[in-house]
Symmetry: C2
Subunit: 265 residues, 2 copies
């Protein structure tokens, strides 16, 4: 998907919501466990209930890998089910030496047909650029993550700013986004001075406590430039037979807040 | 596998060789492509030809993931085929927020039965510690990698030293190793001042040009404390029907050099 197509979807739906598919057998409603493929059945109902409210879905690879081959089958079916109008993100946090990163890129962009993959920057340019060589595919590079541990190294001599400064030269605003956690809202202003035009993928709203209004205020640019992710708060809003309705209600709340925030200058 | 068991194997075999299973359909001998499962058939013959010369095997996950479900089946069969006396490393470079890292740990330590997994430190303590909670399982944390891009961030204010200093408190010498590339031999001395007793996994010998003698001289400790990886130089030493013999000859060369180096003080 191109940047133009993504921006179009955002204005059309008045939503910059990304729904994280962190689908966990321990957490999905019990009645689904009798289905042939409980993970896919859960995802299918969540997608049916939310597709008009979000512009992106982000399967979290760990949840699928932990189930082995069955997990990969569920992921394959989920990817086939999501419409091509949604921006799909493989949340995989990959990154390795050049020839290995190239294989990961093939896994996510060819074997699966994801639009984007999250990549960790620690190993530097040659671990990231192989992902950027695929046409109309995106890298979403970790800059400042939402978790407690983000303080351990990312704030060491403002490493995350160094990541933003260096990495923006490896790709363009058409194929490179950055992860910036909602739990650091005061940092959005300085981040926008370094990367005014890039899209930012923002985790940490919902379960992790980030504030949508604040991050939108400091992080939004002319083309919105934000994808705000919510996973657990939407997926597990209910745990009965009406879980999908409950998930929709939660997603609708977020989308309506976004529609309001998009009206503001 | 415990540290004691690993050290035992090293002294028994006079080898600290780890063979990286970066098995690539483009590079394996053509005649194998007719097999039911070419990837597994290649691995099986490599393992048969080298198991007495190495103490560890390291499947590189990217090469299996890029094949989708078939790749995971080949990996499963390969893991079943490797003897429990070999230290098995999932070279996966994972690391994410706590609940996600926990799922990756389950994938590699429970769904598969790897002894160790490589983890990227960028997201800090809570992205690494979930892997350390599994008994007799290991984290191998990226410190100073072997690639060109290691200079982009790892040397920024000596970030890799900060990783070594902080992370050694997250685990013990019984469950935490560090990746230090053979392409930085002069750094081994200062690294050993920070982590004298930890095992180091050393990539970058062979195809990437690191020097075994130098890194052993500066990196070895009382219990050896090194696992030196070689992938392509061994796997693709030949490309005919005798590829496994050629791989053995190459592994033997490395093992004999190691046996000599272990005699030195």
């Amino acid at each position: 998907m191109t940047r133009t197509q993504l921006v179009e979807q955002i204005f059309l739906k008045k939503s910059y919501l990304c729904i994280g598919l962190d689908t966990d057998l321990q957490k999905i409603p019990k009645h689904l466990l009798q289905a042939d493929d409980p993970i896919f059945e859960f995802n299918r109902q969540i997608i049916d209930a939310t597709h008009d409210l979000c512009v992106s879905y982000k399967p979290n690879l760990a949840f699928y890998e932990s189930l082995g081959i069955k997990g990969w089958q569920a992921l394959e079916k989920t990817m086939d089910y999501i419409s091509k109008k949604h921006f799909t993100i493989a949340d995989a946090k990959r990154g390795d030496i050049g020839n290995t990163s190239k294989m990961y890129a093939k896994a996510f962009f060819e074997t699966f047909d994801f639009d984007a993959v999250t990549v960790a920057p620690y190993m530097g340019a040659d671990s990231v650029t192989p992902f950027l060589e695929f046409k109309n595919k995106w890298v979403i590079l970790l800059a400042l993550t939402s978790n407690q541990g983000s303080k351990d190294f990312q704030l060491h001599h403002q490493l995350y700013e160094e990541v933003l400064r260096k990495a923006q030269n490896w790709g363009t605003v058409e194929n490179l986004m950055f992860v910036v956690g909602a739990t650091h809202p005061h940092q959005f202003e300085s981040i926008r001075k370094i990367v005014p035009n890039h899209f930012l993928l923002v985790p940490g709203v919902g379960a992790q406590g980030g504030d949508l209004e604040q991050l939108t205020h400091f992080g939004k640019n002319e083309q919105v430039g934000l994808l705000v992710n919510s996973s657990r708060a939407i997926l597990y809003a209910g745990n009965g037979k009406d879980f999908a309705e409950k998930a929709r209600a939660e997603a609708l709340k977020v989308q309506q807040a976004m529609a309001q925030l998009l009206l503001k200058r």
